[in-house]
C-alpha cells in the first residue's frame, strides 16, 4: 500500500519538461508527423488500437508519438482517452464474409473459392535487414492482377456445409451481449466476454500462452483454417432515422483456427474451432487469440483442465497490459510508511531471534557445565 505524499512539485514539473525534450530528440532532425506514424508504422498503430480497444488510427499515432514509441504506454493513453467519451451505442454485428479482402490464406485447403491471397505479408521474406531502407529510394508501384470478382468464401462456411466442423454457436438474440467495460469480470465467463477480453489482451502474453498449447500444455492440434485481413463496413442503427447506416469502415484481422475432432454421444466427431478477431492488420495476435479462445473452451467441450492456457481466471485476469502495468508499476510509488512498519517488524523479529538464540546458547552452556 502506498500513501499520499506532498512536495516535489518543481522536480515533477522539471522531469516532465525533460521528458518532453527527450521525447522530441535531436531538434536538428525533423519531428515525426502523425501521418508518418500512421502511414509508415501502421502495424504499431494497429496494435495500439487493438489493445487500447479504440479504433482511431490518428489518435493511436498521437499516442505512440507521445509515448516515445512505448506501445504499452500508448495503449494506456488511448484507454484513458476513451473513458472521457460518451458511448453512442453499438454497431450491428459486422459481416467478415463481406470483407474487402487484402489478404486471405488457408493452411488447410490448397484451392478454395476466392483463392489464396498473400497480400502485404512478411511471410516468405528472408528476414535480412535491408540497408537500402536507411534511405528513401523510390519504390516500384505494386503489381496489379485481374480481379475475377469471385467471392472470397469463409473457410468455416465451406467446412460447415459438410457438417465436418462445428457450426457457429447458436444466436440467441434475447441474450444481452456481454460488455466488460460496463460490468466487472465475473467467473466463469461466457464466450462473448472472453473474446472481448482477449481482443484487447496483450499480444505478447497471448502469444506465449498460445505457444504453450502447441508445446503440450493443453494440446489442441490446431490448423490455421483461415486468416483474412481487410476492411468491413460498420453499420449503426440511428434512432432518429429508424434504420441503420454505414458510418465508416474498419480494418480487421480474423482468424479461424480449426482443431482436432471432438465427438460425444450426441454429436458425431467433428472439428472444433477457435476464433480471433482483432483491429487492424494483426495476424500474430489474431492467431494467438484464436488458440487461447479454443483452449479456454475446455470446460464446454468436456476436456480436462490441466494447463495455464485453459484456466480462464488466470488467462483473462492477466492478459490486460494496462491492468498489469498499473499494478506492477505502482510499486514505484512511495511506500515509505508501509516500509517503515515492515522495518519495525523485522527489527522486532530479529531482536526476538537473537534473544532466543542467546537464551538457547546459555541453556546449552548450563547443560554442558552440569554434565561436566
Amino acid at each position: 500500500m502506498y500513501v499520499a505524499v506532498k512536495g516535489g512539485e518543481a522536480a515533477i514539473a522539471n522531469a516532465h519538461r525533460l521528458l518532453a525534450a527527450r521525447r522530441r530528440g535531436d531538434a536538428q532532425v525533423p519531428g515525426l508527423t502523425l501521418e508518418q506514424i500512421a502511414g509508415q508504422l501502421s502495424l504499431a498503430v494497429d496494435r495500439v488500437m487493438g489493445e487500447g480497444s479504440l479504433y482511431d488510427p490518428e489518435l493511436a499515432a498521437l499516442a505512440i508519438k507521445q509515448a516515445r514509441g512505448d506501445l504499452i504506454e500508448a495503449v494506456f493513453l488511448l484507454r484513458a482517452y476513451r473513458t472521457t467519451l460518451p458511448r453512442f451505442g453499438h454497431s450491428e454485428p459486422i459481416d467478415t464474409g463481406e470483407m474487402i479482402v487484402e489478404r486471405r490464406i488457408s493452411a488447410i485447403y490448397k484451392d478454395l473459392p476466392g483463392g489464396q491471397l498473400l497480400g502485404p505479408t512478411f511471410d516468405y521474406t528472408h528476414r535480412l535487414l535491408d540497408p537500402a531502407l536507411a534511405g528513401d529510394a523510390p519504390l516500384e508501384a505494386p503489381e496489379t492482377g485481374v480481379d475475377t470478382g469471385e467471392k472470397v468464401t469463409r473457410v468455416s462456411d465451406i467446412l460447415g456445409d459438410e457438417g465436418l466442423i462445428e457450426d457457429d454457436p447458436v444466436t440467441d438474440s434475447k441474450r444481452p451481449v456481454a460488455d466488460i467495460t460496463r460490468t466487472p469480470m465475473e467467473f466463469p465467463m461466457q464466450r462473448d466476454a472472453r473474446l472481448q477480453t482477449l481482443a484487447r489482451g496483450d499480444e505478447g502474453f497471448l502469444l506465449a500462452l498460445a505457444y504453450s498449447t502447441q508445446r503440450g500444455y493443453a494440446r489442441s492440434h490446431p490448423f490455421a483454417g483461415e486468416i483474412r485481413i481487410g476492411e468491413v463496413d460498420v453499420e449503426v442503427m440511428i434512432p432518429e432515422l429508424g434504420f441503420a447506416v454505414v458510418i465508416g469502415r474498419v480494418k480487421l484481422t480474423e482468424c479461424q483456427m480449426v482443431n482436432q475432432f471432438q465427438g460425444s454421444a450426441k454429436t458425431p466427431p467433428q472439428f472444433t474451432r477457435g476464433y480471433g478477431l482483432v483491429f487492424g492488420q494483426a495476424e500474430r495476435k489474431a492467431m494467438a487469440m484464436s488458440l487461447c479462445d479454443r483452449a479456454l473452451r475446455a470446460a464446454e467441450l468436456g476436456e480436462d483442465i490441466t494447463a495455464p492456457a485453459q484456466d480462464e481466471e488466470f488467462v483473462l485476469s492477466h492478459c490486460d497490459n494496462v491492468q498489469s502495468t498499473g499494478f506492477v508499476e505502482h510499486l514505484k510509488l512511495p511506500h515509505y510508511v508501509d516500509f517503515q512498519a515492515e522495518l519495525d517488524l523485522v527489527r522486532r523479529m530479529r531482536a526476538e531471534h537473537f534473544a532466543s538464540a542467546a537464551k538457547a546458547d546459555d541453556e546449552t552452556d548450563v547443560a554442558k557445565e552440569a554434565a561436566e
Binding site: 480497444s53 475475377t148 457457429d168 454457436p169 432518429e240
Partner: protein, 155 residues
C-alpha cells in the same frame, strides 16, 4: 400502398446516401460540396458531438455477437433554412465532415435538390470509392498464389 412503397425506396435511398457520404474521404466530400455552390443557412440542433460506438463481431464469424472494441465517432443534427432536418453519424472525429454530411442529408429531403445532390456529390463519391476498392482488389489479385503439393520421395 403506393405511399408505403415510396417510403421504402426513400428509406433505401437515404440509407445509401448517408453510407456513401460517411465512407467518403473528408477532402473529397468538401471539394465536391464546394463545386456545387450550395450554401444554406444551418442551425445546429445537436452536436457535433464526439463519442464511441461499440463494435460488434460474431463468434466464429456468424454466431452470437460479442464486442471487439470501440470506434470513435461523431454525430450531428442540423436544420437548414428551408426547414429540413438532417442527421449524420460518421466514424472518426472530423466534426466538419459530420456537419457537412448532415447538411447534405437535410438538403436531400428537399425534392427540388435531391437529384442535384445525387448527381454532383453522391454518385461521384461512390465512383471514387469504387475505384479505390478496385485498385486494392487488383493489387491483391496479383498476390494470388497457387500452391502445389510436392510428391514425396518415398513412393
Amino acid at each position: 400502398m403506393a405511399l408505403a412503397e415510396q417510403d421504402e425506396s426513400g428509406v433505401a435511398a437515404r440509407q445509401r446516401r448517408l453510407s456513401v457520404l460517411a465512407k467518403a474521404e473528408g477532402k473529397d466530400l468538401l471539394a465536391l460540396w464546394k463545386q456545387t455552390g450550395l450554401d444554406p443557412a444551418v442551425e445546429l440542433l445537436r452536436g457535433p458531438e464526439s463519442g464511441l460506438v461499440a463494435l460488434r463481431g460474431r463468434i466464429g464469424g456468424g454466431g452470437q455477437p460479442f464486442h471487439v472494441g470501440e470506434v470513435s465517432a461523431t454525430r450531428v443534427t442540423v436544420r437548414i433554412e428551408s426547414g429540413q432536418v438532417g442527421h449524420a453519424m460518421i466514424s472518426g472525429r472530423d466534426a466538419r465532415k459530420a456537419q457537412l454530411v448532415a447538411v447534405i442529408d437535410a438538403l436531400a429531403q428537399d425534392p427540388a435538390q435531391v437529384e442535384r445532390i445525387e448527381r454532383d456529390i453522391v454518385a461521384p463519391l461512390e465512383q471514387l470509392a469504387g475505384e479505390a476498392d478496385a485498385k486494392l482488389r487488383e493489387e491483391t489479385a496479383a498476390t494470388r498464389v497457387n500452391f502445389f503439393t510436392m510428391v514425396r520421395g518415398e513412393d
